[in-house]
């Protein structure tokens, strides 16, 4: 009996999490940034947005791949959320005051050379 409890616990949790995949959507879009520091900022900021399950930003292509729960958020809200981090997406431009507060190396519009 004890054995059955362990086994059923394992498989029920397994199935439960497979179920939750059904509500998940995977998307990829442009988020402007420059360097490793931007990658860190973009990924940390995005994963903390409500409903976002997974975020990975690619330095070279400037594309973010993400998986989100379509019941908890919409793509538009995510775009807006990312732009509020200071990084413009192909839908929303980052507000200038936030953009200007980015670390120097992340100023993708006018990278300054010292």
């Amino acid at each position: 009996m004890k054995y059955i409890i362990i086994l059923s616990l394992f498989f029920s949790t397994f199935c439960f999490s497979q179920q939750s995949n059904l509500k998940s959507l995977k998307v990829s879009f442009l988020v402007k940034g420059v360097c490793e520091m931007c990658k860190d900022r973009i990924e940390k900021g995005t994963i903390k947005l409500k409903g976002v399950k997974y975020a990975n930003w690619d330095i070279i292509s400037n594309n973010i791949s993400l998986i989100y729960n379509s019941k908890k958020t919409t793509l538009d809200v995510i775009h807006k959320g990312i732009s509020l981090l200071g990084h413009s997406t192909n839908k929303y431009t980052a507000p200038p005051e936030i953009y200007n507060s980015l670390p120097d190396c992340c100023l993708y519009e006018t990278l300054e050379i010292h």
């Binding site: 949790t13 903390k48 990975n56």
Partner: protein, 737 residues
């Protein structure tokens, strides 16, 4: 009218920008776009960088008409901008600049992470090279977290300790499959050739619930070389002045883009009779061994699958004891022999859903058969263990990747057959268990992360029980990290295989029989908790760090191995207190580009309640000091360089079990120092040679063999506090293709 207005507007707009494509010519003359080029107006601070397609676009400047293009390793270009809007540039390689680029930061061979929740030290294969010989039990000699000492005066076997506790309290896994346990407890580490190892992960304190309930003081995981990533061909040869010869051959082949295989062969032989301390006994056994391993690796990135299959044979023979050559005996000489044959095979499979990268499934199973036949004088010890282990693990997230979970099942089966001192007893036992675990991992991605795990096991001899474990990491500043861990662990004590020193003594075995399931004894249970603080710093622009570790292991139940009475060894369950407290302070500093210094101080307080009272654990130094100096010259273009390594160990006094021949010591061994050194000449990326010395100062224990008549009960080779050999020198080579 309207049309001209629009045209004018667009012209006016476009005139504000300069744009173009930056490229370079590759070796075959093709024009390739060059991303990441810095473009700026001369004498100003405005500019941009080229994107992935080599495109750039920037506003015209009022301050300058000259545009500069810069990229590391390429010649700087500049153009005078006139009325044109598009300027395409081809950058030229600058051979001179490339030579001057020097990467200063070297990868350290022992790495401690600021980000991992658990206190894990990663040991790379480069660190293993520092102890050129021969297997992983010896490789820990340059590692400050683990103590290595001889276990007795005749078998040449070294034992490892962590946090002041012997290796049975460590969980030793090979690629996360529990490996060195039961029958292989004493000799197991010496059966893994050092060159087969890709890296090792040493966890201090309680481990993860994923690998079972057995780890008490910590965990050592050994990652072996993988056919896909290891070099196609490798040879290592080693010889020393004590007559030990070793050879390692690796050959790897990538069969197609998915399948690769590797064959790893190790052999060693020693037929020199050495008796440098003139006690009539061999200082090290005469030995020969072969070890063969074949593994297959399958990777399919588009489907997200990876699989390994491997099998291995090992045969090892050691002859030890009194030297009979050129001697007349009026009694039988005391001789011994240990023959071990082992077979291992394992299969692993992993799946990561390529479209849902945070979900993965892993399955592994392993079978091993370990067969040891040995005799020592009139005593004998034979053990045969068949083991099967299997685990299934599922990784996923709750909500987002900030909250990760691991969920899984383990099954293990062990069948032991032992014959002890022929006339006394034979033991056989079957252990089997099934367990389920759940581990939750939270990572705030900045200051805080934690791992909380729990497992439930149903074991035929240990009963059914929970094992909770908890790890917390707090990183208030970039270079400061505080870690806390706590958890329980249990194990069945295989009293004979874990304490094979008994058989190289004349001591009589006494087991106080209760109704326990393990030789009449109850299993061991302990609680381990600890705190670690690490602070990184920069002095003179050089990196360094200091780490404080304090760990406590409290035994609720333990099998006490009592060597306190001369002529006997007794086993009984703990009745009272038993604890191991360990303090370790590590200091590491990069003195210059080429010099790294590491120092460690350790203090152990390990005591247990014997029938004769609460006593310090014997043969455990109270204090230890360790320093390692690593020097290397700058690497030339072809990879050639020199590497120098010097290790100093100071071992404080140790309590000795009482023996009439040790009466002068007044219960404690003297403290002593050891030096090891190695010089490696790297001729190129493919070939290197090394020479080195162990115990260069030559400190040895004067009387490792006690008791005179070797068939009497006072005979003892197990009270060993210092090396048996004096200085040992070796030479070897490595070829890598």
């Amino acid at each position: 009218m309207l049309i001209t207005l629009v045209l004018q507007c667009s012209i006016g707009f476009s005139q504000d920008y300069i744009e173009g494509v930056i490229s370079y010519k590759n070796e075959s003359g093709e024009i390739i776009p060059l991303p990441g080029v810095t473009i700026f107006w001369q004498n100003t601070s405005t500019g941009t960088i080229s994107n992935i397609d080599g495109n750039y676009k920037l506003l015209k400047s009022n301050l300058s008409d000259r545009l500069v293009f810069k990229f590391l390793g390429y010649k700087e270009e500049s153009i005078d901008v006139s009325n044109k809007r598009f300027y395409n540039i081809t950058m030229l390689k600058d051979e001179n600049i490339l030579d001057e680029v020097v990467v200063n930061k070297k990868r350290k061979t022992i790495q401690k992470s600021y980000f991992k929740t658990q206190n894990i030290t990663n040991v790379s294969s480069d660190e293993l090279l520092k102890a050129a010989c021969c297997n992983i039990s010896e490789s820990f000699e340059t590692n400050p977290s683990i103590d290595v000492s001889y276990s007795n005066a005749v078998t040449g076997v070294k034992q490892v300790k962590m946090l002041g506790l012997e290796s049975p309290y460590l969980l030793i896994t090979e690629e996360n499959i529990p490996m060195i346990r039961g029958a292989s407890q004493v000799y197991g580490l010496s059966f893994i050739p050092g060159t087969w190892v890709e890296s090792m992960q040493i966890t201090k304190g309680t481990g993860s619930v994923v690998n079972g309930f057995e780890s008490i003081s910590g965990q050592i995981n050994v990652e072996l070389k993988k056919p896909y990533s290891d070099s196609p061909f490798f040879v290592n040869m080693y010889t020393n002045d004590m007559g030990r010869n070793e050879i390692n051959l690796h050959s790897n082949k990538i069969i197609n883009d998915k399948l690769s295989t590797g064959v790893y062969l190790h052999a060693n032989k020693n037929d020199h009779i050495n008796d440098n301390n003139y006690d009539g006994f061999l200082d090290h056994p005469l030995s020969n061994a072969v070890n063969f391993f074949n593994r297959w690796q399958y990777i399919n990135p588009s489907k997200g699958t990876v699989a390994f299959f491997g099998y291995r044979f090992m045969s090892d023979k050691k002859e030890l004891g009194e030297i009979i050559e050129n001697k007349v005996f009026i009694r039988y000489p005391w001789r011994g022999e240990i023959r071990t044959n082992r077979f291992d095979s394992n299969f692993k499979f992993g799946y990561v859903n390529p479209s849902i990268p945070y979900q993965s499934l892993g399955f592994q199973m392993a079978f091993s058969r370990h067969d040891q036949d040995s005799f020592f004088g009139k005593r004998n010890y034979d053990i045969n263990q068949n083991s099967f282990y299997s685990s299934l693990i599922y990784n996923s997230i709750i909500g987002s990747t900030l909250n990760k979970i691991k969920l899984g099942l383990n099954f293990s089966y062990d069948d032991f057959d032992e014959i002890v001192d022929q006339t006394i007893n034979s033991y056989n036992r079957i252990d089997n268990s099934i367990g389920g675990f759940f581990e939750y991992n939270y990572d705030s991605l900045d200051a805080v992360s934690l791992v909380a795990g729990i497992r439930y096991d149903i074991h035929n001899n240990l009963g059914s029980f929970f094992t909770p474990r908890f790890h917390l990491r707090y990183q208030p500043f970039e270079k400061s990290v505080l870690r806390f861990s706590a958890g329980t662990g249990r194990k069945s004590s295989n009293i004979f295989s874990e304490n094979q020193n008994i058989f190289t003594s004349g001591r009589q075995i006494k087991i106080s029989k209760k109704l326990g399931k393990f030789y009449g004894l109850d299993p061991e249970k302990a609680f381990n908790y600890g705190l670690s603080f690490r602070q990184g710093f920069f002095i003179n622009n050089r990196e360094g760090d200091i780490t404080f570790d304090y760990y406590v292991t409290d035994f609720e139940n333990q099998v006490i191995v009592d060597w306190e009475t001369q002529g006997e060894v007794s086993f009984y369950n703990l009745d009272g207190k038993s604890f191991a407290k360990s303090l370790q302070i590590d200091l590491e500093y990069q003195l210059s580009n080429n010099v790294l210094i590491k120092s460690t101080f350790k203090n152990f307080d390990v005591k247990k309640q014997y029938k004769s009272g609460l006593k310090i654990n014997p043969l455990t130094p109270k204090n230890r000091f360790f320093t390692n100096l690593e020097v290397s010259t700058n690497e030339k273009k072809n990879g050639s360089k020199w590497k120098f390594d010097l290790t100093y160990n100071w071992i404080g006094k140790q309590r000795l079990p009482s023996h009439t021949e040790l009466i002068d010591f007044e219960g404690y061994s003297p403290n002593y120092s050891l030096f090891n050194s190695q010089i490696t000449r790297v001729f190129s990326n493919k070939f290197e040679m090394y020479i080195g010395g162990e115990n260069i100062g030559g400190y040895t224990q004067s009387n490792p063999i006690l008791g005179g008549y070797p068939f009497g009960t006072d005979f003892d080779t197990s009270i060993v506090y210092a090396p048996i050999h004096s200085a040992l020198f070796y030479i070897g080579l490595r070829f890598n293709n």
